[in-house]
Amino acid sequence: MTQPDLRVTIGGLELPNPVMTASGTFGYGEEFASYVNLHRLGAVVVKGISLQPRAGNPPPRIVETACGMLNAIGLENVGVDRFLSEKLPYLRRANARVVVNVLGDSIDDYRALAERLSDAEGISALEINISCPNVKKGGVAFGTDAKMARAVTEAVRNATRLPVIVKLSPNVTDITAIASAAADGGADAVSLINTLLGMAIDIRSRRPRLANVVGGLSGPAVKPVALRMVWQVARTVSIPVVGIGGITSAEDAIEFLIAGATAVEVGTANFINPRATEEILAGLIAYLKEHRLASVRELIGSLQLG
């Protein structure tokens, strides 16, 4: 049998296959280069970048939980200048398709970042992390308010020609409302989910296990929630959806595609198996062959109901 066609398009971003990395779990790509051929991945989504470098939260920043982990890294990153001068050149040499995840405290921050990154060569798309607090609006996360989500999306949309993927927070009452707001604001695609807010307590000391008290839950524990949200969003918006949350195997990735995701991002699994992305890709190819599917696109949104 001939090789199945793995190509997918996410709002103008053409990818050779649908397996990407999730922001914050793959460093700036280089960390994994001895395990994974970065060029073979659909795309590398780098750690969230802000205008200025950020130190992040005090430790302890991570704790393991049942089938998952909580993190409160606090968006530590090198800032856009050092990203462009120190991190991007490596990814370009490795021939990786680079999606830059961006974050800010204000709409102006997001706009400025979009402008800076659009001028650089070697960036394929922007992923807008809207789970961050809007400092000017009392710290309410952009991603929990449809109006703010739309406003951020519009600002970025008007500042760049790159495809814009808006990354949604699951910590909302109705994620489809936020997805629709992003679509109305001009997003080319949405990706979901970011981490679910959680906490853990040390019962001996009665102290929180994270210095930040609360943190984001990720890993296999969140997969059913993520899958449900991806399915709901894919039914609601007409732009492509990128599925994220607890994907550790090809089977997990295929579930997301069937639920309606056009591509997937692999996160926490990279920590346990640094070759997870390539192995998921190989498993996806094997599945397509076994089920005699000529293209991965036949899987997308193929959920059988009733």
């Binding site: 130190a55 920043r61 993190n71 490795a94 198996n273 640094p274």
Partner: protein
Amino acid sequence: MEHSQTRTSEVVRSERLGSDIFRLTVLAPWIAEAAQPGQFVMVQPADGQDPLLRRPFSIHQVTGAGAVQILFKVVGRGTSLLSRIRQGGQLNVIGPFGKGFALPSGVEENICLIGGGMGIAPLLFLAKRLIGRSAVVGCRLVALLGARTGSELTVLQGEFQQLGLATAIATDDGSSGHHGLVTQLMLQNMAPGDAWRVYTCGPHPMMRGVVEICQGMAWPCQVSLETMMACGMGACLGCAITNPKDPNSYLHVCKDGPVFEMSEVAWR
């Protein structure tokens, strides 16, 4: 682009060195060849998703035959699962990771290795790399080892002695050696006027005690630190510690360490 291995390794030896202390020897030539003392490996405690994350362990020894050893104490679920692995079993180990001990460039120094509890693990590997050089110039090479109780040290002390190191031990319960802290052994074994280089790994309060003495004596000292780690390879940024030289940034134990110069670490 090099290709690091993620495949599972065979456990060729499984030992119990104390009531809750174990040692596993796995065949992983690609790690054994690359490993430097002070570096660590990330070990998957079990198949499946619970416990989810790998556990970091210092490289305790490597052998010419391509084997890598870890020495560990059972403190929770992951180490409990690891303690049940027998010879012939399988273990998924990746690495080596991190920045190890910097070997001395000069040769006129006496060297003291100070280990507490499982902090002894990386020091045996370090001792093996150091014996060659100090024998030549006749410098002293000493190991000071601390543990809760004497039985935990029987095998390990013997191995340091076999390498030709002078050893002294301290136990919390006084069952063997000095009754008290391993730091109290320092001034008994290290003449203040002499030039010493110190390498230490162990519980934080113990290392702080070692560092205070070294600062007082102006002895250079390297310390090996532990934090929670998700990836071990600089990707998750979970292993941050305070950077005393720059309040606006953190150090990352898995990449900047686990071995640091004592002056790089905030001890308060």
